[in-house]
Symmetry: none
Subunit: 201 residues, 4 copies
């Protein structure tokens, strides 16, 4: 038999999942508590037993997802044998994280990623966490000789995050005719080699 705590968590997650579904369909502002409650199969008031208010649902999702996702990212980078392997694993993990749930991806990209509900500090913190991963990879690659020496780490982070996000966004707005993770290698190739032609160098 389940103990009380387990049941508590179950309902918490049920509401969170319902909220993500509704947020992804209507956007944060047009989504109503009643819709979320109905989707979760609970009464409106029940939501307030688990979340302070509407905003708290979104923030909770964000915190929850970020923790989960970054743990995975760090783990994958650690597993990589060399800089390029680490890089590939990071890109792959990033794409895979969002591939699992289109709804989650939409909410994350639209409502969380782009400020509004997140404090500047939260955004900066996340940006810094990603930067650390990038830094580790680049510095290793520079030692190995596989990565250029003249790089701005913040800019590389911007290139990577920006490109990956756009790939995700495009996939989200497309009818998902291809797998998101299948974009790993093409994207990796582009980020590593650039679009220029070196043959003549």
């Amino acid at each position: 038999m389940q103990n009380r705590e387990t049941k508590r968590n179950e309902k918490y997650e049920k509401i969170l999942e319902a909220a993500i579904k509704i947020f992804s369909k209507h956007g944060y502002y047009k989504a109503t508590i009643s819709q979320i409650a109905r989707e979760a199969g609970v009464a409106d008031g029940t939501i307030y037993l688990y979340f302070k208010n509407k905003d708290d649902i979104l923030k909770s999702f964000f915190t929850y997802r970020t923790r989960e996702v970054f743990a995975k990212f760090k783990d994958e980078v650690k597993k990589g044998k060399n800089a390029l392997d680490k890089l590939r694993r990071l890109i792959h993990a990033h794409l895979t994280a969002f591939e699992k749930s289109r709804e989650m991806a939409i909410v994350y990209q639209v409502e969380c990623k782009k400020r509004s509900h997140l404090s500047k500090d939260k955004i900066k913190e996340m940006s810094n966490m990603y930067m650390e991963l990038v830094k580790e990879i680049i510095q290793l690659g520079q030692k190995e000789g596989t990565i250029r020496k003249d790089l701005s780490i913040p800019l590389v982070r911007q290139l990577m995050v920006g490109a990956i996000d756009e790939v995700i966004t495009t996939w989200v707005y497309t009818s998902k005719k291809y797998s998101l993770s299948s974009m790993t290698d093409p994207l990796m190739d582009l980020i590593v080699k650039g679009i220029g032609n070196d043959k003549e160098k």
Copy 2:
């Protein structure tokens, strides 16, 4: 003396500008018609003489800006002497367009870019317009031998748009201590050469 049309446009633009200012400060949903009216120096009801409803203001801004911005993009690409020059001009024009007004950049990035108020068609249309520019540049470069032959044009578009957007977003959330257009060359360099080290090839 001004003719009627000119006067009409004056007020139309005054409201549009006020709206952008307010949207950028509070976000689309928290912004109220009254705030916009006050900022524009008109009565609440007057806004409805120029716009169908609140949503129409945002859509109008988007259409207006997109037209303006893409005209500039096309123009710059046309002026470029060769593929890389065209590319550099596109990136520079893109960054400069958003540098002029932080407020505009915020609204564009947060409210327009990321769906919500825009139809899928609008987004696809914009994506396609950008794709055309990228295609033109890449195909020229491939003829010239300055750009790799094995490229997916949609992916290159995603890399470019994603990276540029992230650079803009980072700049927006920073205290603007550097000029956005100064990022043109570093970004260009990264996009063209990638982060990999070729010396040993």
Copy 3:
């Protein structure tokens, strides 16, 4: 023709009167904005054009009434020829003020008088204003020799206000079979002479 300002005030007072009616019938907490709006013949939202919130309606009434009532009290006291005449006029004005509207009396006695919605400062201020009136009367009477020398002014205020309030409250809960102002002389007599028998002194 009425000017805009006049019309504004008209609606303000219409809402205030409706509120008093509803508050007196159901009490502050059970009264709803919708009931007040219906009674005033306006839409719910209109109330918020004139009052910050529900609480503000009650506070406004209190401020409004207090100012009005105390102006009258002062005026009457000023008109009195001597201490006992002044006293009689004060008691009479006090009773008359509440006689005009049973509804007003209920709200005043129940919701305002007895804290809850009023700051301690407001209550103290009111208490002090009354005290000033009492002080003036007593000091004059002491000079005239019509009032005892050994009196605590605060206590006299408490005796008077308490007794008058209780007379009003009793009247309010009775079916108003007598006029409130007819209680002036009996009350005055009791306050001045006390219940004791002096004949034997």
Copy 4:
């Protein structure tokens, strides 16, 4: 060992006391069942084993207190040797009853005394009980010759109750720098002799 009834009463009183504390702090309407339950150290649902509903808590308190207090009042009046002694004992008992607990005094004055939760019948009943005490004292005093013959008993009740209540209310809103029962003699003096000067008679 305690019997069932005793245990029942223990919890019943614990809840009643907790309720008074919470009511006095937040007022009846703003006080929540949860707050009362927490204060009493029981679960929310438990309260409904002892009281029909929220209103019933207040009514029970009132009934309970009234019974207790009037028993004391009657007892004291009975003990008095003569009219004035009885009167002094009544005033003293009245003040002392409220001195014991500031919280109780607040709830009694604000929530009970002034209708809202009490039926007109309850109020009248209470008023009549007090009237009986006053009547007894006055009629005795009139026989003794210590009290005026020309008195309206209801009005004397109003004078007394009103004055005492106001003394209590003032004390409650003050920081209790003096003892409430110390007001017995000054108040008694005022009620018996009035504020007028008899020396010249």
